[in-house]
Amino acid sequence: MALKILIIIPAFNEEHIITNVITNLHKKNSKWKLLVINDGSTDKTKEFAESTGLAKVINLPFQVGIGSCVQTGFIYATNNNFDYAIQFDGDGQHRVCEIEKLLANVESGKADVVNGSRFCNKNKKYKPTFLRSIGIKIFEILNSILIKQKITDNTSGFRAYNKKAIYFLSENYPTDYPEPEVIILLGRNGFKIKEIFVDMNQRSGGTSSIHGFYSIYYMVKVFLSIILTFIRPRIYNKKQTEENV
């Protein structure tokens, strides 16, 4: 039986690009199942995504935030017994051609989770602002120390997961700027994370959700969450789940 692969596409107000994202993914590999999770968009994201007929669309009744939005995808993947899941932003930032690179690394069993990183390569096209690069560095050091795995791009939303990780994340997924926390959560619970370099597009629309006052809130909140996740007891019992899966 062919392996079931789900592409989880969180989308909030992406009407200008969502059709492209879906058709590009479908063109690349029509066997991938596409799942758009529309996080209570106020524009026509729902209509555009549904009218392609190529993706399943989950419409959340109101905006629940990126974390809970992506988690809905993991719940769907668990319920429908998918083998692998790719998290792929609906804003056109991620490149379809990089997916297979991520997939290959989970399929080979080298890692439970593969993180697409903009930074783990000397060839740096992506240039964050000074303050942002400090933030990125802090999380890199913090996460690397805490889970003893070097993760350079903690805020990446371009990741591949195997069944074990899907199942785990369907039950445990942080909210509110969740990406760095997910890394800690997974590392802390014994998942193997591998990072590979991916090229990302410049944003084609919208601004980063992290700016101004929110960048301070972001740093404090994520810092606290990371420390707490590290302190909390492990959730995941390796033996138990391996028997179940």
Partner: protein, 130 residues
């Protein structure tokens, strides 16, 4: 300040206010505007205020016990404590509600998708049969 009439007046006001608060919370709970489990902290502290406003030496005794020289500030201590506890309880409740809200919205999203698929399937198979 040592005028007994003024001292009595503030005591009467304190008694009326604290009994009023107790009655108000009780009434809200009776009418199910506040759930019993969330009225407990309110009731507990309003009873304490009633007791302290009637039994004046009680406040003095309490102030002496915790080392407060000016007895009325002991009242503020109790008041702040009450507000803190009730607000912390709110934070706990809000966090729980947020979590439940999140789960519900996820369920709704997943169910809507499933319902649409079932609907589509049944109209498709219907058209094939007819």
């Amino acid at each position: 300040m040592n005028d007994p009439i003024i001292q009595n007046r503030i005591q009467y006001i304190a008694i009326i206010c604290s009994i009023g608060l107790l009655f108000f919370i009780f009434e809200l709970t009776r009418r199910k505007k506040i759930r019993e489990q969330y009225s407990l902290l309110w009731l507990f502290f309003s009873i304490i205020f009633v007791v302290l406003s009637i039994w004046r030496n009680g406040l003095d005794a309490f102030a002496k016990l915790v080392g407060i020289i000016y007895a009325p500030s002991a009242l503020f201590l109790i008041l702040v404590l009450a507000i803190f506890l009730i607000l912390i309880q709110f934070s706990i409740i809000i966090s729980r509600l947020t979590e439940e809200n999140k789960k519900l919205s996820q369920e709704i999203g997943l169910l809507k998708l499933e319902i649409n698929e079932i609907k589509n399937n049944s109209t498709h198979s219907g058209s094939i049969n007819s």
